[in-house]
Each structure stands twice: as structure tokens, then as C-alpha cells.
Symmetry: C2
Subunit: 149 residues, 2 copies
Amino acid sequence: MNTPAANNANELLKLDNQLCFPLYALSRMFTKAYQPYLQALDITYPQYLVLMLLWEHRELTVKELGEKLLLDSGTLTPLLKRMEQRQWLSRRRDPRDERSVIITLLPTGHELQAQACSIPVHLLEKLQLSPTEFETLRTQLQQLLTVLR
Amino acid sequence: MNTPAANNANELLKLDNQLCFPLYALSRMFTKAYQPYLQALDITYPQYLVLMLLWEHRELTVKELGEKLLLDSGTLTPLLKRMEQRQWLSRRRDPRDERSVIITLLPTGHELQAQACSIPVHLLEKLQLSPTEFETLRTQLQQLLTVLR
DNA sequence: CAAGATTTAGTTGTATACAATTTAATGGCT
DNA sequence: AGCCATTAAATTGTATACAACTAAATCTTG
């Protein structure tokens, strides 16, 4: 354990020298930053992600949602059922392929968009990043996401 | 909804135009990338974080762990109890302040370090980032973490 | 066309996260 | 000393995540 190589390995084992921990911590901090705005709409962050996709696409299968959010049915099915209970969306089997379930936004779900569209603006203010910084970071993360996918 | 301002607000509501989603997705993908190596040690990612801190510091209170990991006792207490059951660490009240709980690494917990020190190396390989890219990204995330904290 | 492979959701069980509340101990102040 | 505010963990309840498995529908290939 006292060779330079071992010391280097131990250095790498420190929290501060890793990429993963800041990602993990930042991800949770962002979710908390969203919290007050989401609470006003009575939705959670993953539910907000689903809504964003449905505002853009109107209807999507569970599989498509999973591909876009990188979540599986074990997470999505109960989440979508909760959203169905609140009348934000409907779940129905695809008549042309009974294996698939099509998620469609209901009127109540559409109405949330008007209240939600100020959320990203609020968050941008909280971040205090210049548009350039924001864009650079977003692009880098997006790239890393593509590489790892 | 057809004014330029409203359209811009709707643009911002797309997944691809946000910082938060790539952080959220990347964080989970990283955890999955660690998974095979952590599974070999039979630990979870948050448990690995706790171990890394204890390898570096020997003993820490629950409060100190929470400050470093940005987690509260609601998350840490049950997590630490599970690690205690496996004899990796001990939990005992601080005699000088009975409110605090001191977490100390046990021999079994120390031994895990020898097996764990190859993990960051494996991860670096998976990432395929140049040392410069890695460092730039790490610094940016670290900074963002400091700003938001 | 029939059997086996594949695909899509759903289910089960475990482990986080975290808000909100509770409990116990300590500190500060009169 | 006695009281109140503060602090540190623990507890409770809800909502993700995700591995592993199941069930049903569809596809493929001989």
C-alpha cells in the first residue's frame, strides 16, 4: 500500500477526485431547486419529466418514455399509474399491438403546461450561469450521455 | 401561446434544452457503470460513498457524513444500520455529546479498500475521456456544486 | 402453421431520497 | 437551577430506481 501506484489508487478513491459524486450530488440539488415550483403544481421531478415529454409529443408508449428518460417499466408503471389517478394522463393498450401501452395527455395534464413554463426561467436565474457557460456545460453533459449510453 | 415569448418558454420546457435532465440521467448511468464492480463487493453506490469517506477519515459523525454527501439522517440512518449489520462499521453515541453518533470503520470495512481501489481505474477506462476533458468537467461540476450549495 | 425466441408491461423485493415529525441531549440566558 | 431554543438522530410515510422475474402478445423460422 505504500508504492506510488497504490497511493495513486488511493487518491482516486477520494470523493473529490471523482466525476461521479458531483454528478450524483448536483442531480439531487437540482431536483431540490425545482422542488418549490413543482410543489406548487403538486408534481414530482420525474413526473415533470414525463409531462415535458407529453407536452411535446401528445402521446407516447411506455417503451418510448423509457427510452427517452432511460427508465424501465419497473419505475414507470407505478409512476404513470399515480399520474393516471390524478387524471393527468390515460393509459390504454395499443389495439394494433396489445403488448404496448399508449400514454396520452388528458386536458388536466395539458393545463399544467401554462403554469409550468415559467419553471425553467426561474431555474436559470437560480443558476447564475452565463448563456455561454450554460450552453457549454449542457453540450458536454449531453455528449457524455451519448458516449455512455 | 403564439407570441415569441411563449414559444421560447415552451422551447425551454423541452428535455433537450435543460441542464437538469442530463445530470439526472448521467448520475444514474454512472451508478449503473459502477454496478458490476460494486456488486463484486456486495455494496451499493451510496454505501461505496460512505466507505470512501471512512477510508479517508477513519471516523465521522452522521452529521459530518451528511454534510459531505449532502444527505440527511433520514437517508443515512437506515443505510448505516445496514452497513453495521454487515460488520463494516460501528455506530456509537459520542460520550461527550450524546446527540451525535460516531461512525467507525471496522476491520472488515478496511479490508474492502484493497478490492475497491481498482474501481476508479476501471471507470476511467469506461469513460474514454482525456485527462484534460475529465479535469475540465470535474472542475465545472465542482464549481456548480459550490454555487448551488 | 406451430414452437420457441423476443418484446413489452407489470410485479416483487430491496435500497435509496427526502419532507415532516419526534425524541433526546445540549446550550444559552435569566 | 430552570426554561426555552437549538441541535443531532431517528422515525414515518411517500415516491422513486432498479434487478429479477412473470405474463401475455408478437415475431421468426423451420
